[in-house]
Amino acid sequence: MPVQYYIFLSIALFCIGVMGVLMRRNAIIIFMCIELMLNAVNLLLVAFSKMWADAGRVDAAAAQIFVFFIMVVAAAEVAVGLAIIVMVYRNTHSVDINILNRLKN
């Protein structure tokens, strides 16, 4: 199976995430779309890892280690981001990101 299939699948998932970030105003949905984009990249990294393993490279596992680190960063990001969203909700009783433009004054 060509690696291109995986590349196109990852691109499609990533672009769906981008569309979600641009189209929605609910902060939680935007956050979930960011997770979707991170996962598209992870899938691509794993596909390239398999590609290099097939080519006989012994260090192809490095790509999968990289995926672990992306998962770590995603988990930390979710913990802090959801705390921020909960605090915004507590103060404004809404998760609409348009309310956040009052930060500029």
Partner: protein
């Protein structure tokens, strides 16, 4: 068409449809459930790509921890479709067109790239012994740094989430 290609097509179709469900559904809880389905299909892709341990970790971390956290916050806020903020229509179209343009450009740029074909045979690169050796031999410093990152995220979440007196 080989079995692998059939599995790939089915998993990809489910992944793309449920990803569309995430951004199109009005109810946030439906979005979360669609995203969990997407994560499970991505885990299926990992198994197909000989990353077995990564697939298990992916399910544990994403479906088990992160999405539960999302669901928890949504339930806590009692969000539903009625109070869902709506963007103006032309902004939605602009977002969809921008994302679609990105998709078209990336696909057009990579369509003619010459890439090798994945072999159907199994490799042991994604097994836990192999990954553990790589992680603790070559990447032990980033591993330790990520523990500091986790600690700071934990402290940050507690500090942000604390009620001010």
């Amino acid at each position: 068409m080989s079995t692998q290609q059939i599995i790939f097509l089915v998993l990809s179709a489910v992944a793309l449809l449920s990803a569309m469900g995430v951004i199109l559904s009005k109810n946030p809880v439906t979005s979360v459930l669609c995203l969990i389905l997407t994560f499970f299909t991505i885990a299926g892709h990992y198994v197909m790509l000989n990353a077995q341990f990564l697939a298990v970790v992916h399910i544990i971390v994403y479906a088990g921890a992160i999405m539960v956290l999302f669901l928890f916050v949504i339930m806590l806020m009692n969000l539903n479709a009625d109070i869902e903020p709506q963007k103006r229509n032309w902004l939605k179209y602009a977002g969809a067109i921008s994302g679609g343009t990105l998709l078209v450009i990336l696909v057009a740029a990579l369509r003619d790239a010459s890439m090798p074909t994945l072999q159907p045979g199994a490799t042991d690169i994604g097994l836990i012994g192999n990954l553990g050796k790589t992680l603790f031999n070559k990447y032990v410093v980033p591993f330790e740094v990520s523990s500091v990152l986790f600690l700071s995220a934990m402290v940050g979440a507690v500090v942000i989430g604390k009620k001010e007196d």
